[in-house]
Symmetry: C2
Subunit: 392 residues, 2 copies
């Protein structure tokens, strides 16, 4: 896998200029603005940004220019990336090795509520590389979840993430929260895609959970740094949840729940759409039952989801024979990384990455998780296997 | 509508001979025996019965003859129909005005568990003509129903039967029972299709309900009079439940429930297959969830069922405007019959049938129900409207 640094100097400079301009566009335009996403898809971020600055009136960008004029004057693009750096966030754009290619499907799908298109870039906070999302599932639902829905969301999240399917949700209270919690309880990384800036904590009640997500997973947002969680941004955000994943599970949703908007996007994107049934008298299941009547497939537990995503198999408990070791319980990629950690003299994360042939970000995420499970320890400026892990 | 009595004498004699022989075949062969049903479909009951008696070895009927030889010797066909008469049962066969033509679809569907084909005839007990089943729905499910399922079955049965869609089920304990009860509570006739003889009460715990069904609905069976409820007969019976109705609703079913066999038949027959979701942890909902994943449509209440059967409309409470009278609450056909009952001098059921242009059996069923609701009364050997009904 090539990284930006291994590219030719010219290519590298082009990519960094494009990143700068896309960060500027991200700060100027609303997430999922269909004019902006279409122009950037067709011509690139640098092309659009330069045309916004030009004194010449260009009919293609006239509307966008009018919309962003006020903010454009005050904007200092370089400071945006510096600010992200300071806060520990990276701005990922197409062309980066970490860019999740599945988002490009959004270029071919009709807008919904005037939102649509491939995002110009994503602010990311946390060590999990977005490429991990090639095998992922969205678990979404009502903010006012019942105990029934909360338990179900956590169960599905636990089973799918243990099988190597990363759980993605919206970081909200209710079903989103329990989906993330289920992954965390299984010691697996999880990803929250936010409607506000990736540097913000919203809702505040989820602060501790966000800290946990950032430890080995990622917070992702198309909104500018510091951006507020406005209604229209939730609609734009929902398309990313559907597009980033191979399928969406709606666990509980009343008839007007925002989760149904995510479901609509999953359908448009030909992703697998799933729903969990519930008691017919429960208002929180009514929206899901509507979905099940129309386009969603019934799932009642994590293994159903794995089966539908075609990810069933090696990680299902039924198929195990020999007694498990801690290493057995790891996902194949994590096992490879653990095998790169030495028994003797400590190695840096970069050393481990080289040894395991893995991406440095992924290694950092994995080492943090391994440490928590007592598999590795940080000593003398580097990582080694714990005595117990070395024995097994 | 022509009745058997209005037919030409020859035709009438032919039909009665056919009835006699089909009653004999019904007593000789197992319900849904695929050899017998196929031969009778192709050649008629008289043809097959005569060949069973002939001394000449006919390769077509050889197997059937071998199977029924013991019973054939002891059989007196005339006594079967006499016995039915005495018990108040009729034996309905193709060619009768009351024959439900939708059963003929079974001629074109592959057998399941070695059962299949159009039944050679049906023993019927109760005044409801089987022609009423052109607008009907089957509600079936687990014998060990939960309160949740029982309530749901009764709700769906009440709403659909009030809308003029006759509820049909298997007369068993559990979901079947509550489906019948829901119809009865709505003062609507209901039909039970049994695996034992239509003259028997099985299970005994449902005796009072059976009495209520027979009052204005019908008990139906393909099994001979006195026949026991054997496992193989349930499988044959299930195909009739699916074939007689426009759709089947499975309310609760564990993973091995017999209701899933009925669902399978509904699918084969291209009838609407519906299922009610439930809590994912409930064993009684697991079989339904499996169905919903594969081929059934989610329904959560009676109006959903009406919508899928295309029977929604005039009877839905939302659409009502003017205050209801007792007469308004009747189904259109019942209203027509009530309009045939005089205010003054009493009329026999036959008089009312003539006045309303309706079938005598249907009129008898309706008058029994009207009496219970205080709309008509039986005085001086005939029926009149009650004072209250006459006023409204």
């Amino acid at each position: 896998m090539s990284t930006a640094l291994e590219q030719q100097p010219d290519q590298h400079a082009d990519l960094e200029r494009e990143r700068l301009h896309r960060a500027a566009l991200c700060a100027l335009a609303e997430p999922g603005d269909i004019q902006v996403t279409r122009l950037v898809q067709d011509h690139g971020g640098t092309w659009l940004y330069e045309r916004l600055l030009e004194p010449v009136d260009d009919p293609l960008v006239r509307e966008t220019r009018r919309a962003v004029a006020a903010r454009l004057a005050a904007l200092e693009p370089e400071r945006l990336l510096e600010q992200g750096d300071r806060l520990g966030l990276r701005f990922v754009i197409p062309g980066d090795p970490e860019w999740p290619g599945q988002l490009d499907d959004l270029a071919h799908v009709e807008p919904l509520h005037d939102r649509g298109g491939v995002p110009v870039g994503l602010w990311v906070r946390g060590p999990l590389p977005l490429t991990e999302l090639t095998s992922s599932v969205a678990i979404v639902g009502s903010r006012s979840a019942t105990d029934y829905g909360a338990t179900l969301a956590a169960e599905i999240a636990g089973v799918t993430s243990r099988a190597g399917v990363t759980v993605l949700s919206g970081g909200a209270l209710g079903i989103d929260e329990f989906a993330h919690r289920g992954a965390v309880a299984a010691s697996c990384p999880t990803v929250a895609v936010l409607a506000c800036g990736a540097d913000r904590i919203y809702p505040l009640g989820n602060e501790r959970m966000f800290a946990r997500i950032v430890h080995d997973g990622a917070l992702v947002s198309e909104a500018p740094l510091g951006g507020s969680p406005m209604r229209v941004r939730f609609l734009a955000r929902n398309r990313l949840i559907a597009a980033l994943t191979r399928g969406t599970v709606v666990v509980e949703a009343a008839v007007r729940s925002g989760a149904l908007n995510t479901a609509n996007w999953a359908n448009r994107l030909s992703r697998q759409l799933m729903g969990t049934p519930g008691p017919v008298g429960s208002a929180q299941s009514q929206g899901v039952h509507e979905l099940l009547r129309r386009s969603a497939t019934v799932v009642t537990r994590g293994t159903d989801v794995l089966e539908l995503l075609g990810a069933s198999g090696e990680h299902l408990p039924e198929e195990r024979r020999a007694p498990e070791t801690d290493r057995d319980r790891l996902r194949p990629r994590d096992r490879q990384i653990l095998d790169g950690v030495p028994r003797g003299s400590p190695a840096t994360a970069a050393d481990v990455a080289r040894a395991a042939g893995a991406d440095i970000l992924r290694v950092q995420s994995a080492l943090n998780r391994f440490e928590q499970r007592g598999l590795v320890e940080y000593v003398l400026g580097g990582w080694v296997l714990t005595e117990e892990a070395a024995r097994s």
